[in-house]
């Protein structure tokens, strides 16, 4: 049985120094209530894996601005001036990964694969330190799986078993991150009984979800 827990309990599962995957794209589809609770708890030294670092005052960007983050693995930092500033001035470590490669590396970890070959980044600095392979005359980079200690996700409807239904553009990285972290916590806009989500409409099956928390404010 999946445990419905409080925001406080959810935030307590994230310890100083952990790596966390955070769903969302420019904050759309991020678990805003969990993020706010982490901000209040001042959890520090986090490695965050997220599509982007959003803005200084929205989504995961707030944790960067509050200096709770020591490393960022992401595809885009251009919309959060603090990420760039801390990188240049305060040694914030930033690993930039092409967006499709980022999604695929996370899936790779979640799907039990050892790596994949992508044409993305061939001939660019993304190549650095990576094995290059030629298959049928085309060059590819070998990219490796990316997993995390905790995934913090957001869903529109979550049943008490942990099945998740997303709405509109909030889906983005949430389903794939649900596959690739040791502990998976979903912030639900609405918690429903098993059966209330049509099994044909479930996007993230319950098997991936460890904890469910009721969100309080979805666009803070």
């Amino acid at each position: 049985m999946k445990k419905v827990i409080t925001l406080e309990e959810a935030a307590n599962l994230v310890k100083d120094g952990m790596s966390i995957m955070v769903g969302g794209f420019m904050g759309c589809g991020s678990p805003h209530s969990i993020i706010r609770t982490l901000e209040e708890k001042k959890t520090r030294n986090l490695t965050i894996i997220c599509n982007d670092t959003s803005r200084v005052d929205y989504g995961i960007g707030k944790l960067v601005a509050a200096k709770q983050v020591s490393k960022v693995i992401t595809s885009h930092i251009g919309t959060n001036r603090e990420t760039g500033r801390q990188m240049n001035e305060e040694g914030l470590e930033v690993e930039l990964v092409p967006q499709g490669t980022l999604a695929e590396r996370i899936r790779c970890a979640g799907a039990g694969l050892g790596g994949f070959l992508t044409p993305t980044g061939v001939g660019t600095v993304v190549e650095e330190g990576k094995e290059k392979m030629t298959i049928n005359g085309q060059d590819f980079l070998l990219e490796l799986p990316l997993s995390a200690d905790v995934a913090l996700l957001s869903g529109a409807k979550v049943d008490t078993k942990g099945n998740v239904y997303y709405e509109k553009a909030t889906r983005n990285f949430n389903p794939v991150m649900a596959m690739a972290a040791k502990t998976v916590i979903v912030e639900a806009r609405e918690i429903v009984e098993p059966g209330e989500i049509d099994p044909n409409h479930v996007v993230t099956p319950a098997i991936f979800v460890d904890y469910i928390v009721k969100g309080e404010n979805f666009h803070e």
């Binding site: 794209f25 885009h76 695929e104 993305t120 001939g123 553009a169 990285f173």
Partner: protein, 220 residues
């Protein structure tokens, strides 16, 4: 040409490249304007790499802004009838897998080989590649939509100086001054902008241009 007319010129000319049934991804910024000039008699589907097909225009009424429905820039968007939402792995399977007919992106630099640089300036600006590296490698046709020069300096170079986004992938460059095709022989000047002469284009371009006998003006 003032900024607004310039952007309109570029967007209108790029829109003329679209054909009925095309699946298209428009980059953030100026490329987004292309959606405003799609000929009315053709059906073009836009992909939003944060997770849907059928991207529509931004809602005109700010009251109807839905934070769950944003484009890849995090800005208000809409979805057209017959669209579909999906997650980031599916979004980039579409992009990388060659299922898009066209991607339109901005650029800092493009060169004779069709190389592109549009994601960072060392020690000055690091935005991150976002989805650009995947888009440029995956889409069947890559169109660069940009101003011909930056503060008077050429952006179409013999060889890109900035870190690359991809090697050899650009097919067409559209600026306010010209339409330039990237061919195996080099850059071919195909059309002139509303106010440009051949000599002005040559002067504003560092790369060698192949000039056909007859270079028509853009039909906007």
């Amino acid at each position: 040409m003032n900024k607004e007319r310039l952007r309109e010129t570029i967007a209108k000319r790029v829109a003329m490249e679209l054909k009925d049934g095309d699946m298209v991804n428009l980059g953030i910024g100026m490329p987004t304007l292309v959606a405003n000039y799609v000929p009315e008699d053709i059906d073009v589907t836009f992909q939003s790499e944060n997770g849907f097909l059928g991207l529509g225009l931004a809602p005109t009424d700010p009251e109807s802004f839905d934070p769950d429905l944003v484009n890849a820039g995090g800005l208000p968007a809409s979805i057209r009838i017959g669209g579909a939402f999906f997650d980031s792995t599916q979004s980039f399977a579409i992009i990388r897998g060659g299922h898009l007919d066209i991607t339109v992106l901005g650029a800092m630099q493009v060169d004779e080989k069709g190389n592109l640089a549009n994601w960072m300036i060392p020690k000055k600006m690091v935005a991150g590649m976002g989805g650009a590296m995947d888009l440029v490698v995956g889409a069947k046709k890559v169109i660069i939509a940009m101003e011909h020069t930056a503060k008077g300096n050429p952006k179409i170079l013999k060889e890109c100086q900035l870190p690359l986004t991809a090697v050899n992938q650009v097919d067409l460059i559209v600026t306010e001054m010209a339409v330039i095709e990237v061919t195996d022989e080099g850059l071919v000047l195909k059309e002139l902008g509303p106010e440009a002469t051949v000599q002005e284009v040559i002067d504003a371009t560092e790369a060698k241009l192949l000039i056909p006998e007859d270079v028509p003006r853009m039909k906007l």
